[in-house]
Amino acid sequence: MHGRQASQLVKELASSEKGQLKPFNMQHNTCNFNVFGSLGMLHVLRFLSDLFDQVIEQCEQHHLELQSLIRKIQDEGLDVQTTRNADHYGALIHHLSLVRNKRCLLAYVYNRAEIIRSFIWKVGPVLPEEIQEKLSHTEGDHFRRYSASLNSYVQEVGVDLTLDMVPPKDPYIKVRVLDDMGAIVLSDKTANLARHSMHFLRRTDAEQYIAQGLMEELTG
């Protein structure tokens, strides 16, 4: 069926939870599965995860068949623009399939890029390992460049746009550290952020650590 793989690729987006990311569906991304050992398993993962490449391959196939049908029309001495024979409709179907596949590929890449850009607002400029490994090489690059351009804008206007929108009642908040972070230099002091210790920190310092799940805010 025409465009089946492409629709599977788009469905992968639709079926995943909002704002969550799955590993990029491309062969060279599976190399980190090597650690699992068994060849059979590797084979299965390969099969599952090179959809993106499969769709591109299909596009090339459609392109070849489209060209050969057009050539056939020309060889018969007919005008490609006005002929409406069986070859024309065959070429039309290949053309439509090609355009459809392209659209699905673009939708896949575009929607992922949107989620990836949202990370910078939710998590901050440093992505944890478990997210990093889901990005393809170009996506990682996109994230770094987006982060850099946001950063340069923030420096130009002099306001950190990634901070909370609601004005704080108190510039300081009470937090509990959830994971050993060691001594960290904050904007107003150096604090030893040991696990389970409680601190009184500037909101602006604490925000990124809370977003990364390293601290929690204490209320009341």
Binding site: Q20, A86, L92, I93, F119, Q212
Partner: protein
């Protein structure tokens, strides 16, 4: 059986070819290498639509808007499993209706949605988890979005009323940590 499976995956339309088509692999044309005019097939909606507009095929109403579904919706729209018929029942209906020239589809969609919308909203605010999981198996994708939006707005209202920590861990990180714990 393969057909049924396919219909669930893709939005397919039954079509009749009005023109001969060369060099494509659709259904039984794989061996012959061409599709005869007058042969019947099922094509994905995006392809069927374009070919229909160019008068290469003529579309007819897809199976998910058949007489059986209509009767069930008339009987009690709230209990019909629309999800298995078509996960995008309303959107698909809106797109298909002008193409096949079937004006009854509009009324069908409207009457189904009226009844179901009411139930979705009331269940979203009141239902316990077990009741809602049963409901979610019959909702279309569009209805599921509505249901989740309703629940989310209720949760946001409760949070606004009772207060709570302003900052939370980014939701993208949530799942993995929990599975380790």
């Amino acid at each position: 059986m393969a057909r049924v499976g396919m219909a669930r995956v893709l939005l397919v339309c039954p079509v009749v070819f009005r023109k001969e088509v060369n060099g494509v692999k659709i259904d039984d044309s794989v061996e012959k290498g061409f599709v005869e005019a007058g042969s019947r097939s099922e094509l994905p909606f995006w392809l069927a639509k374009e070919l229909h507009l160019r008068q290469a095929v003529s579309m007819s109403t897809p199976a998910c808007f058949n007489q059986k579904t209509r009767m069930e919706i008339q009987a009690d729209a709230a209990c019909v499993d629309l999800r298995s018929r078509c996960p995008y029942f309303y959107e698909f209906g809106c797109k298909i209706a002008p193409l096949v020239g079937d004006q009854t589809i509009g009324y069908l969609l409207l009457s189904a949605f009226k009844t179901r919308y009411e139930i979705i909203l009331s269940k979203a605010h009141t239902a316990t988890f077990s009741a809602s999981s049963k409901l979610s198996t019959i909702l279309t994708k569009e209805e599921t979005d509505l249901y989740e939006t309703a629940q989310w707005s209720m949760a946001a209202f409760k949070k606004w009323r009772t207060g709570g920590p302003r900052f939370q861990k980014a939701s993208i990180l949530g799942r993995k940590r929990r599975s380790i714990d």
